[in-house]
């Protein structure tokens, strides 16, 4: 461990490289986290299928490349397909569990998550899939630092998606309905807002965001049927750190998490990278909860 820290000192370009790589994966986490924040805030559902939506987006994009379509089209196509998948899942399952104990929806979405994992495993097989975007690589500092153009595009795309989402919620009619429903669903209903459709749309938008993220993932990294959990868990962490209803905070937290994780993997050894993330999650929860306790409030 000390050796790793020393190495950072000897080869400072590593710091830049780790930071860039961390920020780029962090941006993708952030997109999935937007969706989770939305569904959580509006419907009071913690959506555990988040990662599987990302995975589906990746497979859809991969399928496009098999048909000879450029994977860059995967971003809009996966988003649209996932929107409809999300809306139908809402119709069949989520709508029936959403107004119950939150724990019930947690379990229901968990069930969906293993269902989708296995379904994809049966359909596409368990293989690792990637899609070549055809974009190249930039080199900085005399070839020591490499920046994949695809990852930069993914990062930029993620931030742009976030911006569009914030504007959409603020300005559009559906966005307003979503905000109103989030704050008081009953009141929204007495004003003639069809909250069920708002929920379906919210859930669909969430799925679409994840689908877009998945398209970026398959181009910048890789997908396979069991890739979901890390995205779900990281979305959750990001939302907790940023605080519900704080979309700009989500992107900052996402980038921060990506970077922190990368540095932790480097310094502690990659085998402890995942442990680090989860312990960080617990530590953040404990700290937040004891700060609140001082004011006699609770994380709930």
């Amino acid at each position: 461990m000390a050796a790793n820290v020393a190495l950072l000192g000897e080869a400072p370009f590593l710091i830049l490289q780790l930071l860039l790589d961390g920020l780029m994966i962090g941006a993708i986490f952030a997109v999935a986290a937007y969706g989770m924040a939305l569904v959580w805030g509006v419907m009071n559902v913690i959506n555990v299928v988040q990662g599987e939506f990302v995975m589906l987006g990746g497979f859809i994009t991969y399928q496009l490349t098999l048909w000879g379509v450029s994977p860059l089209w995967g971003v809009p196509v996966a988003a649209i397909v996932l929107y409809f998948i999300g809306a139908s899942l809402h119709h069949v399952v989520i709508r029936r569990v959403a107004d119950r104990d939150m724990f019930i929806s947690l379990l229901a979405t968990f069930g969906l998550s293993i269902l989708l994992q296995q379904l994809m495993n049966q359909i596409w097989g368990g293989d690792v899939r990637t899609a070549q975007s055809g974009l190249g690589t930039w080199f900085l500092l005399d070839y020591t630092v490499t920046v994949s153009q695809m990852k930069v595009a993914a990062c930029g795309g993620a931030i742009a998606i976030g911006g569009v989402l914030i504007l959409f919620l603020k300005r559009s009619r559906l966005g307003q309905a979503i905000r109103a429903t989030a704050q008081n669903p009953r009141a929204a209903r007495i004003l003639g807002i069809d909250t069920n459709r708002v929920f379906a749309a919210t859930y669909g938008i969430n799925a679409a965001l994840c689908g877009a993220a998945g398209a970026l993932v398959v181009m910048a990294y890789s997908v396979h049927p069991y890739i979901g959990l890390p995205y779900t868990v990281r979305s959750f962490m990001i939302v907790i750190v940023a605080g519900l209803g704080n979309l700009p905070g989500v992107i900052v937290a996402g980038l921060g998490l990506g970077a922190a994780e990368n540095f932790a993997g480097f310094i502690l050894g990659v085998q402890y990278q995942v442990a680090f993330v989860f312990i960080l999650l617990v530590v953040i929860l404990v700290i937040r909860s004891s700060l609140l306790q001082r004011r006699r409030q609770f994380l709930k």
């Binding site: 569990v97 968990f110 269902l115 049966q122 929860l285 909860s289």
Partner: protein
């Protein structure tokens, strides 16, 4: 479940527990697993059902017990059975100590924050074990072979887990009749009010979780030996299987009831075995469908559903007007 029929039912289950390994000897391994699952569901329900603290990370204690027991057997140099017993006890002790330590920190969180914190702990534990060479790191550990002819190992574990399940059941039945049981329910129903009435809620929550941890430590300690191989992520800290199943079984049967977790575990285990046999490769798709089905159609569990269906059957209810 009427109160009057309880002893009869318990007698029936006890008879089944004693007789089954000989009635269907080919299924001894499954019978042992069944009772182990029953215990997992029962212990999950102490916090999840009775106290309203839904944990996704109780698998932590199971895994700790499993590793502790195998390491004790490996390093202490006792014979098989003394080693196993010592290992189970040490594992349970460590699990309980961890529950006290971690519980006093994270049981302050409420609702799903607690659930997620426990999930994080469970996964982190698996990852740490997977990186720790003393515990065999990613290669896992192999416990000693059972020192008896084939088939007896399963017989032994079937009775061990049955005995433990029965003991846990009886103890919990007694516990839930005390005011401590009521205090747990009070926390579940309205923790603010429980505090406002002067209850030491923090102490009770930690105690409840510690009880669950202790028993799970025992189960894990024995389970490692029964399965014959300890893998950090897929056996010991198997959040995606045992970890979730215990929650599911309790909910399926009816959480917050004495019989619910037992019933849930039995139905779940049998269903799952059937799926494995008949739906090769698709069994987890089916499992997903079943999970969703359970929470959509039986959110109160089978017992809860039965109760709304046939409401008159439980608890004596006196009609008649009170004194004016």
């Amino acid at each position: 479940m009427t109160l009057r029929r309880q002893p009869l039912l318990m007698l029936a289950v006890a008879a089944a527990g004693v007789a089954l390994p000989f009635v269907i000897p080919d299924y001894r391994a499954q019978i042992a697993m069944l009772w182990a699952l029953v215990i997992m569901a029962q212990t999950w329900d102490i916090t999840g059902g009775q106290t309203g603290y839904n944990s996704f990370g109780n698998i932590l204690f199971f895994g700790v017990g499993m590793y502790a027991s195998v390491v004790v057997q490996r390093d202490v140099g006792l014979d098989y059975f003394p080693g196993l017993v010592l290992g189970m006890v040490v594992g349970a002790g460590i699990a309980a100590a961890l529950a006290v330590l971690l519980g006093s920190m994270i049981l302050r969180m409420r609702g799903h924050y607690f659930a997620i914190a426990t999930l994080g702990l469970g996964i982190a534990a698996g990852e740490i074990a997977g990186g720790w060479d003393y515990l065999g790191a990613g290669s896992g550990l192999s416990p000693p072979l059972f020192p008896a002819p084939p088939g007896t190992a399963n017989l032994f574990f079937a009775y061990l887990f049955f005995g433990l399940a029965a003991l846990v059941f009886v103890l919990l039945a007694a516990l839930y009749r005390t005011r401590f049981g009521l205090a747990l329910n009070a926390i579940r129903d309205n923790e603010d009010k429980a505090e406002a009435m002067g209850l030491h809620t923090g102490v009770y929550k930690v105690t409840a979780w510690t009880m669950a941890a202790f028993v799970l430590g025992l189960v894990g300690g024995a389970m490692g030996n029964m399965l014959g191989f300890v893998d950090p992520r897929d056996t010991a800290f198997a959040g995606a299987t045992f970890g979730v199943w215990m929650v599911l079984m309790a909910i399926l049967g009816g959480k917050g009831t004495l019989w619910g977790p037992v019933l849930g575990a039995v139905i779940f285990h049998i269903t799952q075995e059937l799926l494995w046999t008949h739906l090769l490769g698709w069994q987890r798709v089916a499992l997903g469908v079943i999970i969703v089905g359970i929470v959509v159609f039986f959110p109160q569990g089978i017992l809860g559903w039965a109760r709304t269906r046939w409401p008159a059957r439980h608890e004596p209810r006196e009609q008649g007007s009170e004194r004016a």
